[in-house]
Symmetry: C2
Subunit: 413 residues, 2 copies
């Protein structure tokens, strides 16, 4: 392993701050919504940086950008490294941008030191990962063939404008083929977006895969009635049923080691202080890294809803709205990340990604791994999102080592 | 007791149906919002019916209508009987209208049979009991001096129009003095708006008073975080705290015999399926007929919120927004109602009113009692609200007997 190369931490930080100035918010965050004018400016800056290094930038029909540093040998597929430059409406400086600019810094370092790689390395900037408008992770979804291009083109902003029209408006509808088969492997560095590394005092998260999730819409129907004259024993109170379901979701998550259970939305009707709610709609989000455990959580959850409904004399409906099984990353590439952290002397921890990433779509078609670095208090999707310069440097060095190793192997993974 | 007089059930029913045609909704309900054009039409019809019987109608500055059948002796204060003709936006045919038209039918019966009473009897139609716009029970609140007239005049509809302007617009801003001291006593007949009489198979509810209530706004503050990457053990989930509070409210109500506890509104923020709610606002409604018990419920509730907040690492705020102690009705008048039901051979039950009524304001200044009749499935404030002709007749006969007895006593209560 070429462990004597090191990235330029100051340059990485400067690039992060320069990118964060585009769409900067008064509270220190970033508003660079996918395919907005700010996104266009961010893309243009990234393209200028790549051009300055002589990397050829290609854009595919969905606006995904690929910047290539050539390899020494011909006919080998490139190692892809990157993430996304778009942000949440009130997002932070690091979510996405860190992965793209760490990839750029790694390649700049190779240039500075005159390090050649057998394979090309390409930096990717995925279109509209956040889904602040349109659909999240749509760039990698279309690139990997999980969604037809034409369907993505027809997605509409709240204003009614199509994704195709936005791509044309900002000048990022390109011609590079949508084909994951010409990629050797994919690495993505990202802030953790959770508190585990910080709590465990580790610098590098060796991401072993993506957590599996099931989303539900639960509807409980009872009988709306006046809060005053209706004795407790005759009530069919949908909100009390919903409260029981919410607490059961927490218990189920706690009972399945590593599981997570969340009720994010809960809406009672008619929502008047002196009316017993006759109807509640709620969302439930169950997650587990192990597919079999996730299915056991699903069964336990459905059982609880049925029991709560019966006990409270309610009707219940459980609609599975999203189902995404756990996604294991490529064990050998995960090993590259772990080895790099180890060789560089960084404390590290195997971790599962609880949030979604473009790497999940890629992992279904291409050998993939991810690198996490800590973020302050686990906060992301927030203007106060923060990461230290030292952690950014560490993550970037691990990314460089893992990508270098993959780029110097001629054989398929 | 003059138990040989009986009301004309068919005429009562016809009047109810004729009134229900004003503001009739396609689903069989009524939309006769206080001080609307439909309310004006309902008032005009009531005034024509009174005029046809020669009852002098006076209107006070807040639009409360008083129709007097004179007494045989001079210098005696009148017995007041009535309720309200306004409805909820999607209300029913009986809530309010039954009490006014039962009073009218009782007086028509006395006319038909040539029965004189020592005291005058006055029918009252209170302004805007429902509070669909403006404030509920504002007519009796101002009449009894609990709210200054000028404050009521400044109340505004959602459109911005003042109550004073609406009174002038429909021609019901009158001159009768706002003075409860010129009233001997007050009876109000009403549908129960709850399921107890129906469940217990009783015809007449002898209302012993109004339930006490305390309303709270509870705010629980935790930490908003991503549902995926945040382990259960580090969460500060405001919604789980709110669910625990809701179930505790139910337990507290169940543990205090006759108590009621309701969570009508519950709003998590930011309300996204994959975000752990960092904030929940909820309303809590606690009721008990016994003031000391209600205070014990209050103490238990405050203790629970504090304990839930501590256990879940949340900040909590409990604001008492409405406090209304139990209101006992006049024991002797309550006895008149019970005696009348007994003498007429109706099954009856002592009951506390869980809903609010103009009788609550009146009871603070004037000897007051109420008569309940069953309503189908306990449903009110709903277009499907229903009561049987037989129960309306029974309630009207009890009202007549109780009012007759009061109207033939010369002495103060």
């Amino acid at each position: 392993m070429t462990t004597n190369v090191r990235v330029n931490a100051g340059r990485l930080w400067s690039s992060l701050m320069e990118m964060a100035a585009i769409g900067a918010t008064p509270k220190g965050g970033v508003r660079r919504i996918g395919l907005s004018e700010e996104d266009q400016q961010g893309r243009n800056l990234f393209r200028r940086w790549c051009a300055a290094r002589g990397y050829a930038v290609r854009v595919d029909p969905l606006g995904n950008m690929f910047a290539r540093r050539p390899g020494a040998e011909s006919g080998l597929k490139p190692v892809l490294v990157g993430s996304h430059l778009d942000s949440q409406p009130t997002g932070g400086k690091f979510d996405g941008a860190f992965g793209v600019l760490a990839a750029l810094e790694a390649m700049r370092t190779l240039d500075d030191l005159g390090v050649a790689t057998r394979r090309p390395i390409e930096i990717v900037n995925w279109t509209n990962e956040e889904g602040a408008v349109f659909r999240p992770m749509v760039g990698s979804e279309v690139f990997t063939g999980a969604m037809p291009l034409e369907s993505a083109y027809e997605l509409r902003e709240p204003s009614g404008e199509t994704m195709k029209a936005r791509l044309e408006a900002i000048g990022y509808k390109g011609e590079r083929p949508l084909d994951p088969n010409d990629v050797h492997c994919y690495f993505e560095a990202h802030i953790e977006q959770g508190p585990i590394l910080e709590l465990e005092r580790k610098t590098i998260g060796v991401v072993t895969g993506g957590i599996g999730l099931m989303w539900y819409k639960v509807t409980l129907t009872g009988v709306e009635a006046h809060a005053g004259p209706t004795p407790m024993r005759v009530r069919r109170d949908a909100l009390m049923g919903a409260a029981e379901v919410a607490l059961a979701v927490r218990e189920i998550a706690r009972a399945h080691e590593g599981g997570r259970g969340t009720v994010g939305c809960l809406t009672p009707y008619p929502a008047s202080p002196n009316v017993i709610p006759g109807l509640v709609e709620m969302t439930v989000d169950l997650r587990h890294e192990n597919g079999a455990e996730l299915l056991r959580m699903d069964a336990a959850f459905r059982g609880v809803v049925a029991a709560v409904a019966q006990e409270n004399k309610l009707a219940s409906e459980v609609d599975l709205t999203v189902e995404s099984p756990p996604i294991p990353f490529h064990p050998r590439l995960v090993g590259f990340v772990r080895d790099a952290a180890e060789a560089l002397g960084f404390s590290h921890l195997d971790i599962v990604s609880g949030a979604g990433h473009d790497a999940f779509h890629m992992a279904r078609r291409v050998p993939t791994a991810m690198i996490f670095i800590p973020c302050e208090n686990g906060v992301s999707h927030n203007e106060s999102e923060n990461a230290t310069q030292a952690d950014c440097e560490a993550g970037c060095n691990v990314l460089l080592q893992a990508a270098l190793r993959a780029a110097n192997e001629a054989s398929d993974l």
